[in-house]
């Protein structure tokens, strides 16, 4: 059970006189409950295409995507997406943004505010319930986005570079927050990032993708997030020899892929 992607390819049709683009070639991937799968790779390697496939915004040219045994044929509340930015509703305050998905389901206001309030507290936004989202900082807006994605109790949380726009310090804090929430809620997570350190620290499994055509070039199983959740300080985990060795190895792979593709 869980998410099962089998032999999926995506070809964007020819346009403006350019030949068709093979965005993804023969992707196989499964995401089980409790998995934290991180996709890493240079721009244009198809990470976002893969996420859009799972979210149901895009359908594959060939191959199959199954969630709990049923084919994915469009977006649905069992897969919530946290976007890089621009995805909150500025006309709603924080609590109504977080409760947005519940409102669409037609829950009464008291009930959805109760649920939303729990997740707002979980993300440390308790005193900002009634704030306007456009007045919050980028880091806090992103936390609102994560809280919103969690309220509908999805099977799978899809995160498309959710921390890309944050400053270094906020970013590390947000990483730890997301890991704790993942641990507490037990959701499966599919997480896209550009940062090798972030990828290694957060994932239980890492897929390194290569461009032209987009494909999964390497897979790693990662122990670091569990070390952190078992009590090791984040910086200590990230500074351990094992972490650094793997970081350099992944970087080498990415650079080599880039050169091979160029």
């Amino acid at each position: 059970m869980g998410l099962n992607i089998a032999d999926v390819s995506v070809v964007y049709p020819a346009a403006d006189g350019r030949p068709p683009v093979e965005a993804l070639r023969r992707i196989d991937l499964s995401v089980e409950r409790d998995d934290f799968v991180v996709a890493l790779g240079a721009s244009g390697c198809g990470k976002s295409t893969l996420l859009n496939l799972i979210a149901g915004f895009l359908s594959p040219t060939s191959g199959s995507i199954m969630l709990d045994g049923r084919p994915v044929d469009g977006p649905g509340a069992d897969r919530s997406v946290v976007f890089q930015k621009h995805a909150l509703m500025p006309w709603l305050d924080v609590i109504d943004n977080v409760a947005f998905g519940l409102m669409l389901r037609g829950l009464p206001e008291a009930e959805r505010h109760a649920t939303a309030g729990r997740f707002i507290d979980l993300l440390g936004l308790g005193e900002f319930r009634r704030s306007k989202v456009y007045k919050l900082s980028g880091g806090m807006q992103q936390r609102v986005g994560i809280a919103r994605a969690l309220t509908c109790d999805p099977r799978l949380l899809l995160m498309d570079e959710p921390l890309g726009a944050l400053d270094a310090l906020t970013r590390e804090k947000a990483q730890e927050l997301i890991l704790r929430i993942w641990h507490e809620t037990g959701k499966a997570v599919f997480f896209i990032t550009h940062s090798v350190e972030e990828a290694l620290f957060m994932g239980t499994r890492l897929i390194v993708m290569s461009p032209r055509p987009g494909r999964i070039a390497h897979r790693f199983d990662l122990p670091f997030s569990r070390q952190f959740l078992a009590g090791a300080p984040a910086r200590e985990v990230k500074a351990s020899p094992e972490f650094i060795r793997l970081r350099e190895e992944v970087l080498r792979i990415i650079f080599a892929d880039e050169e091979a593709a160029a």
Binding site: G56, G76, F83, H86, L88, M89, F100, L104, Y134
Partner: protein, 292 residues
Amino acid sequence: MTDQTQAPTRARPSSSGWLTRLTRAAPTRPGETYGVPGSGDTTWLSLASIALLLFLWWIVTATGWVKPLFVPSPGAILQKFADIWQNGFTNTSFLEHIAISTARVFGAFVLACALGIPLGLAMGMSPLVRGIFDPPIEFYRPIPPLAYLPLMIIWFGIGETAKVLLIFLSVFAPVALGARAGVKSAAIEQIHAAYSFGATRWQVMRHVILPSALPEILTAMRIGVGFGWTTLVAAEMVAATKGLGYMVLSASQFLQTSTVIVGIIVIAAIAYAFDLLMRAVERRVVPWKGRM
């Protein structure tokens, strides 16, 4: 000695100030952002500009450079205003002229919004609706209302229908096109977020696209009501016995220049007051405009 030490600090703003302003932005004070185009408060400058215009007006009439037939003095306008206010114009009280014109413009405006906004949104959402309604709207939009006024009269007579319809048409196109453009304001991430919560197409429309489009719709309404006032005089050209447009037109035929100017100023004042109201509505309804 003192002259020499003070010279550079004094020379900069006076001799090169205007020229440097053309090539680079002014340095900013704390709390401002460097390089924002057109930033700065203009209230005093605008008041000064109005005062200067009034002064020039007064000067050219008081010195007798221009005959009162062409430009009556500000005092004569005030007198005329008081006169019309008390005695009315062509046996109709001034307030009735105002009321009837306002009713025509806002009646047409409300009707144009009630039909134009939904249609514009539908045009933005559906290629079917857009395909059907784009040609007729784009066809009549650039035509001056005066050009199709004869048709309106032939088809709808000389009663109230033709007048309101003429104003309606001039408001309808900008409102519908504004609403249609507003549909594009929602970020695709916002739309995707709603769909990934299981929203239906209707819910996306109601809870994402409509609120995102509000700033553009309100702007289109402001532009639209402006077109409405512009068309008012044309609408009251034929078979009207009441209204500000009628007042201006018939006064012009008797060379009552001061009445014409009073009418113009009253139209401008009502239109401006409504624009201020719409801006206040904007600040209340879409305080997030341009901020996310």
